[in-house]
């Protein structure tokens, strides 16, 4: 069903097929077609589904639109242009929609000049910003090309009048598929496309994407289940100049201060020798810190010409930075990840990644932000911060140059999104549920949806949960079990749907105040992690956390103090599984050198050749690996090191699992093993999770081998279902899912609900929902989201299998000082506590501790 186009069309073939006006315009403007255009134009003209992957700046917009413009111009020439939508363009970014409109208006005007007359082709943008007046105008005079977002598309499909405009559309264009398919917005869109296809059976789908893997799955996602799709893989035409840079030759002996100074010196050097530099820091806190520190260290160099850009900053600030960047008014912009995607940001000649970008796709995407013109060189530097970073980024660089793109995970069978879309269908029409089921199953994301799950969602929407007398409150749709028909219910139904649609959870920013003065906002996830007295960075300053009430956190400014907690845990990008495996392989190759007693120089040469990094980097990697090898041995893809480390100064035992599989996999492994251990010893255990491994810590002796035996025997999914049951993350994700399934409404009866209210209710919500059923469909979805999307149970299962069949060997070692590879993990602190004792047992034990402390005095008082 998916076929890769081997040969693109020739310029001549395309010119001969196009309308003379379009042809002439292309000849005058460009002379020839780009690769992407040669693959795309004629296939689109023939109304075939096509999935185009190409690097940024390869003329994608015109690849997708040329054939459509050509078709419309021909119709216009014959006076056959009708009052309807011919093509729908969908972009995940609202900001991009205006760009597309401008990028199409220009060529159209130039072609009109060639033709010597106006075509009467209308373009229209419909997003959340479109006013009621504009929408009304659109209904009277429909745009021939409609530019929109996934959310607005869903709204239009549920509006009687707009739906009629969309009927019989010829093309749907999905832009930036790589950014959509990996999250629930993409899942949501896949269903909207089926709804669109249902009213436009002949519609062809055009997908545009950065280079992705697995390409067949993505093409399949684009067209849905059982349809044909052609795939055009446009090669990188640009030259790549990528390097890993270590600010100091020796990353281990430098003090924190030396490292910081060297890092900023390097940054400044790079910025100073380029025209415009874009820096990625991975986190919002990192962005703030870099801007602050650069200004402080080079006060005369960075004044008005540096800008910060991240998701917590106001929209106005971000747009201002983007505009200045485009106008060339900034020397450097520092961002978290927020400028990876999106609108054209003008001339950038250098991209710097401060710390690992964590995946090949991400590095290529970021690098592509420089040298935006087609044949320019892409230039990016990764500045590494420690030895793990150095190894990771060097392998990342190697994979990037070899274009080994990481596998993208597409969520499937999301029941919350399904509920929202079925509600949308019922709002617009009367349906038989059998037809709905058939429609849904055409989406790639739901092709394996079980009928039972589907029915549960229908019943949920019909309000069939809770006490009978309350069901009128819960019911969203009318459902006749006899006939299997559903339709809208009550007068509020449409309004509730229209005002609560979408898949992106509300920003749950907690307002941070010193006294009555607001100093910024913090992520709610972060707030859950910090305790009274913890010191953290916000907006470049240090604060000490006092307490929080509702959605306000009270803090005290403590200038110059060292932060006691790492910032923005939840934001940490996970290392991609494929890249992790490559690093493991590299470790094994080095172990071979050590085991076979290859000389130091021979090994250094090998590292240099394998990773193409400079001499200092080679030495640093060599030393790092050598130390680990001599101390306890090297863990790698066939050997999982399990390190028992006991610090005699504290009453705590650690077991470090050197499982370099990325934190999404380690999240699963650590919780499963931690849970089993906690159950064995009937005690809570602490776990710490990183990309390179995880640890389990406890006051008691940890029975690792028994735990591993149990892990191998039991079904991972079953263990994990219980292991995540009490976690904060499940509660939080449940609230998000309940929001998407419209069990919690953002807007209801004219009131916009504050996020604070939602937060207060998230625990209560969990309690209430478990009363309905332990397997209530939305709760089930939250568990699925945590295990499959947030974590990676699929690959974790593969690892367990390998442990079982012996292709990964477990080696136990004992240390009193953590091994070099374990050091970072042990010092980073815990990620979570797995609760095993029940509430009563826990409280009794705490009580004993109290009695032990106050015993004597206590008795005296009595």
């Amino acid at each position: 069903m998916i076929s890769i186009i081997k040969k693109p069309n020739t310029n001549e073939e395309i010119f001969s097929k196009l309308n003379p006006i379009t042809s002439k315009w292309f000849k005058q403007k460009f002379g020839s077609f780009t690769d992407a255009q040669r693959y795309a134009i004629l296939n689109i003209e023939k109304r075939e589904n096509i999935f185009i992957t190409s690097p940024t700046g390869s003329g994608k917009t015109l690849s997708a639109f040329s054939a459509i413009l050509d078709h419309l111009i021909t119709l216009s020439g014959k006076n056959k242009l009708e009052n309807k939508v011919y093509a729908i363009y969908i972009s995940p970014l609202k900001a991009l929609t205006r760009d597309i409109e401008i990028n199409l208006t220009g060529p159209l005007q130039e072609m009109e000049k060639i033709a010597g007359k106006e075509f009467g082709i209308n373009l229209g943008v419909r997003t959340g910003d479109t006013t009621q007046y504009e929408r009304q105008k659109m209904l009277k005079k429909p745009p021939h090309i409609l530019i929109t977002t996934p959310e607005s598309l869903a709204l239009m499909l549920s509006s009687m009048k707009f739906k009629e405009l969309l009927r019989g559309a010829g093309w749907a264009i999905l832009d930036e598929i790589h950014a959509l398919a990996e999250n629930k917005r993409g899942v949501h869109l896949s269903l909207s496309l089926e709804r669109l296809q249902d009213i436009s059976p002949k519609m062809a789908r055009i997908g545009l994407s950065a280079t992705v893997e697995p390409i067949e799955d993505l093409a399949h996602y684009l067209v849905g289940h059982g349809r044909i799709c052609k795939v055009a893989q446009v090669k990188f035409a640009k030259k790549f100049d990528l390097q890993v840079i270590s600010p100091l030759p020796d990353l281990i002996d430098a003090t924190y201060g030396q490292m910081q100074r060297a890092q900023y010196k390097k940054l400044h050097e790079l910025i100073d020798t380029h025209k415009t530099t874009l820096i990625f820091t991975n986190t919002r806190a990192g962005t703030e810190r870099v801007v602050h520190d650069l200004k402080e260290m080079y006060p005369s160099k960075y004044i008005e010409n540096i800008g910060a850009h991240h998701g917590s900053l106001s929209k106005r600030h971000r747009v201002n930075i983007e505009t200045k960047l485009k106008e060339g008014k900034l020397k450097t912009v520092v961002c978290s990840t927020s400028l990876e995607l999106g609108i054209d940001i003008g001339y950038i000649d250098l991209v710097i990644c401060l710390g690992s970008p964590k995946s090949v796709a991400r590095l290529l995407q970021r690098s592509g932000r420089s040298g935006h013109a087609l044949h320019e060189t892409v230039k990016a530097r990764i500045v590494v911060l420690d030895r793990d970073d150095l190894v990771e980024c060097s392998v990342l660089l190697k994979n990037s140059l070899a274009r080994k793109i990481d596998t993208l995970h597409i969520p499937t069978n999301c029941l919350d999104v399904l509920a929202q879309q079925i509600y949308g269908l019922a709002v617009a029409d009367r349906w038989n549920i059998k037809d709905i089921y058939a429609l849904i199953k055409k989406s790639y994301c739901y092709q394996n949806l079980a009928y039972g799950d589907f029915l549960e969602i229908i019943n949920y929407l019909a309000g069939n949960y809770g006490e009978l007398e309350e069901r009128y409150v819960f019911g969203k749709i009318w459902y006749d079990e006899e006939t299997g028909e559903i339709s809208k219910r009550g007068s509020q139904g449409r309004l509730i749907y229209m005002t609560n649609i979408g898949t992106i959870p509300d920003q749950t920013g907690v307002l941070v105040k010193t006294g009555d003065v607001a100093v910024g906002t913090l992520d709610e996830n972060f707030l859950e992690r910090i305790k009274k007295g913890d010191i953290f960075i916000l907006g470049g300053s240090t604060y000490q956390f006092q307490f929080s009430r509702g959605m306000v956190a009270q803090v005290k400014a403590v200038p110059g103090k060292q932060p006691t907690v790492p910032s923005w845990y939840s934001e940490m990008l996970p290392l991609s599984y494929d890249l992790a495996c490559s690093i493991q392989l590299f470790r094994r190759n080095i172990e071979d050198h050590f085991v076979n007693k290859k000389s130091k120089n021979e090994t250094l040469d090998y590292i240099h050749e394998y990773l193409s990094v400079d001499e200092n980097a080679c030495k640093a990697i060599y030393n790092y690996f050598r130390e680990q090898y001599l101390y306890v041995g090297l863990p790698h893809n066939q050997k999982m090191l399990v390190e028992f480390y006991q610090d005699d100064t504290i009453n705590k035992k650690y077991v470090v699992f050197h499982s370099l599989y990325g934190r999404r996999v380690n999240d699963v492994l650590s919780r499963a093993i931690g849970y089993i251990i906690a159950k064995l010893q009937k005690r809570d255990v602490e776990i710490g999770i990183g990309d390179n491994g995880f640890y389990v810590a406890s006051e008691k002796n940890i029975q690792v081998l028994r735990a591993l035996e149990i892990l191998k025997k039991e079904e991972l999914g079953k263990i994990m279902k219980v292991a995540i049951e009490k976690t904060e993350v499940l509660k939080r994700r449940f609230r998000h899912c309940a929001g998407r399934a419209l069990m919690i409404l953002r807007q209801y009866k004219g009131q916009k609900k504050t996020v604070g209210k939602q937060q207060v209710s998230s625990m209560i919500l969990m309690k209430a929902v478990k009363r309905i059923s332990d397997d209530f469909c939305i709760l089930k979805e939250a568990r699925r989201e945590v295990l499959e999307d947030l974590m990676d149970i699929e690959n974790a299962t593969k690892i367990v299998k390998k442990l079982k069949n012996g292709s990964i060997e477990v080696k136990q070692v004992h240390t009193t000082v953590p091994s070099p590879f374990a050091l970072k993990l042990v010092t980073q602190g815990y990620t979570d506590i797995l609760q095993m004792e029940d509430k009563v047992a826990f409280i009794r034990r705490m009580h004993k501790n109290v009695l032990a402390k106050i015993g004597k005095k206590h008795r005296l008082e009595e």
Partner: protein, 232 residues
Amino acid sequence: MQLPKHFKIIDLALQYKDTLIIGDLQLGYETELHKQGVLIPSFQLKDILKRLNNIFEQTTAKRIVINGDIKHQFGSISEQEWREILQLFDYLFTKVREIILVKGNHDLTLRPIAKKRNIEIQDSYKIDEVTILHGHKLPKETTKTLVIGHEHPAISFPKRPSEKYKCFLVGKWKKSTLFILPSFNPLTEGSDVLQENFLSPFLQENINNFEVYIVEGKKPLHFGKIKTIKKL
């Protein structure tokens, strides 16, 4: 430290001689949630009745004082509140001879429901030298012992920061002994007393020396003073 004479903790209730005292039921919370668009089923009353039943198995108290905030909403009375509060009264009358309602800050419009069952609403209730009052306002005169609600005290432990435990606090206010009742509402745990962020005018002073009694399981457990737990 032992509780003052004649006082006893039974689950989330405090007993003084033959009077049982509970606080902050906040019935009707779910309707409020529904209004805000949180569409979860109600189960609060069911849980409250179950818990009360357990308490009545351990006591022969003849009188119950509901120490404020029996209902959740400040304003009008919702349908759920009407229904559930009357159900609660009817249940209680099968167990005790007298119900006394002490007015809380949420109970501005309680009178019509109370009237249905001929129950008086009072600003505070006095037995011997014990005054029972909600605690959102200071009393005009004090007695040897005061019992308030309003604060919903609960506590969390550094070893398990994600969980909170309802607790009684007992300490000194001016020259009186002050009891603070945990909330009887099964939906919420309460506010963490270690965060020291109190609303009540009774708790504006340092409460480090207040004694903590946690109720989880059958018997209340004495945890010593707040300052001891802080060091745990």
